[in-house]
């Protein structure tokens, strides 16, 4: 058996605890890593974990808490989550909810809470403007959108907070796989849009945590 070299010092070093990708690993490999984590009385987040593999972790009981919508599992003792939401998670459509939820779950894993703003698409701009003042109160904004990703530019032109854009693989034809939304985010005419990989709600949350830490010294 492979001896897993987990990076338990990562949180100390970078502020962000270790997380692993569930896709690309077999259920056996994941279970073996979970065991190593639990033996070390450590914590870990698993992302992109499909329900079938999650079931194979059933024997760990409450030590592994799976959420199907986001495809994430928390391993180890849960952290107490802050009661003051510090991040606005803005999702463009219902199809983007699983990635938005991935960001929310990751923030909770880190002890942060966040507020979800759903169905904020630009085709009906009033859906954004009616909630804009509320969104503007947050120090960090995570925006989650597929298709053409126009929301990234519109939002970043309206708020003071850094906007972390998470393109999603929602779409078909030219937007299949999320590349159109990714290009929109990177090419945004609004300065200060920061971009993570397609569907990477985890990365956006990790970056948001790092940014919040700047504010907290």
């Amino acid at each position: 058996m492979i001896d897993h070299k987990l990076d338990f010092a990562r949180e100390e070093r970078t502020g962000v605890a270790e997380a692993i990708l569930g896709s690309g690993k077999s259920a056996e490999q994941i279970a073996s890593i979970v065991e190593t984590v639990l033996s070390a009385e450590a914590r870990m987040l698993i992302t992109r974990l499909d329900p079938e593999k999650a079931r194979a972790l059933g024997r760990f009981g409450e030590q592994v808490r799976y959420d199907a919508l986001s495809g994430t599992a928390e391993v180890g003792v849960p952290r107490i989550v802050s009661s003051v939401p510090a991040v606005a998670v803005v999702a463009a459509g219902t199809s983007d909810m699983s990635v938005a939820q991935q960001a929310l779950r990751t923030l909770a894993f880190f002890g942060e809470s966040a507020t979800l703003f759903a169905d904020i698409g630009v085709a009906g701009l009033w859906r954004l403007t009616e909630r804009l003042e509320e969104i503007r109160q947050f120090p960090v904004v995570i925006a989650v959108a597929g298709m053409e990703g126009a929301i990234f530019s519109v939002l970043a032109g309206l708020v003071r907070a850094p906007v972390i854009a998470v393109p999603t693989s929602v779409g078909y034809g030219v937007s299949e796989g999320g590349h159109a939304a990714l290009s929109s985010a990177l090419a945004s005419c609004a300065p200060g849009v920061l971009v993570v990989n397609i569907d990477n709600g985890f990365g956006a949350a990790a970056a948001a945590l790092k940014i919040l830490n700047v504010g907290r010294g």
Copy 2:
């Protein structure tokens, strides 16, 4: 010498008179085509004509009218342009002006006038909203934008007119060549966005003319 088979019946057949691309043809080839057109007492538009080739057409005098910003030349007797603007041409940035001007010039060639709305970028949404009521009065809207092309979706979600999106090659990195704006236009979450090739202000104007003809029977 090649005997040019110009399609003088095209306007009769499709409602849109013949136009040719200046790029990819030598100055000699273009001059020879112009001669054929003038001999036939016909009219033609040349697009993507660079200044150097335009100079080589100087001998035709006022029969060939060149516009440097748009890179277009009108050949033959000008048509009287309608006094009522029927098309709103919305340009996102100063860099998009040459393509917007190409659309305006093409419309004038067809006898249509249009109103230009410049600097309507989404990073400052007020620039759009303060002119929205005015734009909403037009039966057809041509939107011209490079970078991430977010304006296409925002605009199409706010007006009743068909929106013809012209992505431009303005940008760098992922938006170099206009492919990011093109994908945004095609993937737009706002229904009813119609798209033409990158930098194709001519095609947008030709389509606008066809749409106006629908309204006029």
Copy 3:
């Protein structure tokens, strides 16, 4: 549960009622949206809905009308459809029928009727020419084709109506996913071809509606 922010004012604002993508949403999410629509006594179209998810909407009875060929479902009270077809829908091959049907269903949802011209491929040009006079009577033409999409240029060179090109994902090798047909539509040498995303029969119909509205004032 998420509170759906549906855009019921969209039809008033843009002339096109709200529609949602079935792909990328779970059956539960879709059912929940349908409930919101029906409670509001509104109407909605669902596109790209696979049969399995459609079955999960069975409990809504006749309030949700599914069509398997096009993968669309109409939600709410049907609108009376005009008896005069206003749009010609030209499909290049049998494989393009599901996208053509998506356009037809969308037009019907909007209250418009259309005439389908099937099997109009360019490899046998007589199939187009023998029906050309008929097609030329329509104020708007939607052309649906995969493979190399040559029909877009041929058709647009022969009719006065605006031609809305819908590239389809029919094909293999270089035409897999519809990108060859999309490029053909955008690069068309015939002026005035307007393009929507691959397989987007809905978008073509929405644009056709907007164009017809131009004619109707």
Copy 4:
């Protein structure tokens, strides 16, 4: 100095004499190859040769015959060209003429003559149909087109001869570089279209020669 290993036996072996690409080689390298060819009393074709490099070959006089439109140079004693044209070269637009001319020059280098059909674009289908009977008389057809390359499918659906498609780099936006036309040729719904590289008029002519040789035993 490099000792050039020219493949003088290629014509014997494959029916097609050696040719070299002028682009990518310095004027000195080309002159040195020409010397080797002339010393061997052999023949060679140079393609993609720009005028500046051609001038550097001036000292060889009539032994090197340059044609600026096609960018080709014949080296060595000219072959007698057949008086019966065996190939129809169909060019879609004026911008495609340099590639069409490359094919014509290559055929002449091989001793074949051909007939050029210019300005045969599909946006004005009558330009094709009025010459169709003439084109149908040829045993082999070379079709040269950029933009969306719709002519390849239309033509191949109308003639018995094999159609060799030469996509050209004429175009902009999605057709820049010739990739849209290339995909159209490969994805053609008309069976029996044969394709060569973008702008490769030489390759089309070489293949036409091989096909004609089939007919001649």
Copy 5:
């Protein structure tokens, strides 16, 4: 029901009888087309037909002859196949056999026989050289290869016959989907390589038939 506009005059017009793609059509659509063909006492080839859809054609008995390796079905009365093979079909590897077989079946449908040369990869060049003299006897060569497609250039440099390259989707990583082999065929340094779409054994055979017809007047 849709009334199929089949192109029964295609063989007369182009020398190649109609064929349809099985992929992208439902079993019902295909069965309906088959009925139209059989009612007209015509013949047709179906390509890219998977076994499941083929089973749905079982009720037509011997009038529809399916071959699983190539995924093709012949519809109608079989033609007598020539006893003299006129085409060499060279396949690079075992994985390319289904595409090679598609070419063989298509040739047989047209009444032509062919000789298969299997396992002719360039990594073991002796496999080609030991059969080269035999291959050189054929007036037309079809070469079928995936991966890097090096065989196309090697073969075309050794034979007088036109070489029709069929890139296959065999491979993984950079050769997944057949694009590496396609580029190799198009970029071949050996003049006279003619290329068809990835996996398009049918198109190669149709072109071969057209070429053979050149030879036969």
Copy 6:
């Protein structure tokens, strides 16, 4: 003349003052915008401004301060720059210096100072490790790299600060245009890497400013 709709309220609204792209605009267009800015006693940054266009701004004297290495020009009264550097700008190679300088200039325009860490490539890891403790003192890190962009992941795995990755167009072959470095940044296995467009030092600096503002309330 076009009346420029500059977005002078942007700084108030988003914390980042307006900036424009010099590329894609003519010298006349830029001069006209500069005049508008100066008349309004406002400030503006111009990026991607080549030396020739910069010279055309010479008549504005010290009101327009051009820096050739970064291709940026400051317009208007300079802001006092903080004496405490708040951002570490890490550049992988000498070729990346112009983009790094663009970030430094932008920060100075915003009133922030930064420290440059040059020649921090991963091929000689000691160059990073010997300065790591110093870099770790900064609340925000901007990393600038072309080629394969490996530094992004290495750095992000070692520091607590958010890392803003700026891929540069430095490289050739697969890294030409900066796409390899961009993909590396987005796909980074180190959580919390935030990415901006290729060569977009301005965007990185704008985002850094927004992040610093989080810290300052």
Copy 7:
């Protein structure tokens, strides 16, 4: 039945015995090849063999030894494996283990042993540095990584051995399919990185064997 032309002389000629790809071949085709190999008392490696096809080889018993993790099967008499490991196989993550194992199995098939260094990712650089001295003892290093592939450059900057980079298809979004890791490997700023196709552990091992043979004369 096809008569397989296996290349039994390949080992003699190139130092590397024949291997075949299991993907793209049917179970029957593979079994038939295995029979030919066993009849010839030869040896062969099968790669990319899925478990279902492997089961179909069960009747060959111990003559075909399948390993599920790597998807490889050894055919024929096993070779004695050297007791001195000559290759370091460095894998970046658990998801890369199947490709690493493919390399290990291939080396064993050739009679070489290797040492696996697992979980050597750059996000936790200590995992590399703590084993660096050990890795530096090997004459050849194979590095296996997906995602952004930063390990290739870091490792190559630290060791004297040639580094063979095997990008893997591990990842999602921009790294889906392994193209980001592939570009990283090719664009590496560390000189002397040698690259094989995505997921091609076999090719890396074959090259390692050839390199070791250089050392052994």
Copy 8:
């Protein structure tokens, strides 16, 4: 002025002395680096240096030795070059000579000599076979080719030495930029082909040196 952090320990650490890219750096930046190197009495290679920048290094006299064909400059005291050539550099065409020369110059900089085999294209296979025995004597082979890169597979199937493939940017259409040759090299059906970036003769030579060092212990 920037203080250059050159990696003088790289040769000690990795066996390969530092080299820098001339492209992307200004003449001033390069001159400044050269000064640093000469002051340290070290050696360095500059690659991709165009003649204009090379002239700007004229003041260093014989300490900087420029070669125009390869675009390389050696800085510092030349090393004595081995009298026994250890590497075969095989170039497919005249256009590939500058990259081949880059490899030769790099090897000489490292003290190795090599033998050049020019004009070894596969379209005339005899050019390879007549020199094959000679090539087979070398422990390492570098193959340099653009276009379709078929030579990589053919060569690797015939020799025992590891083959390092250097795709070149020679070609047009689908082979423009060298991507077709790169894909061919990576997808090679001949095991053991090792690949470097397009036009990277330097990298190939550095890897060859590392491989030779394996042989020398």
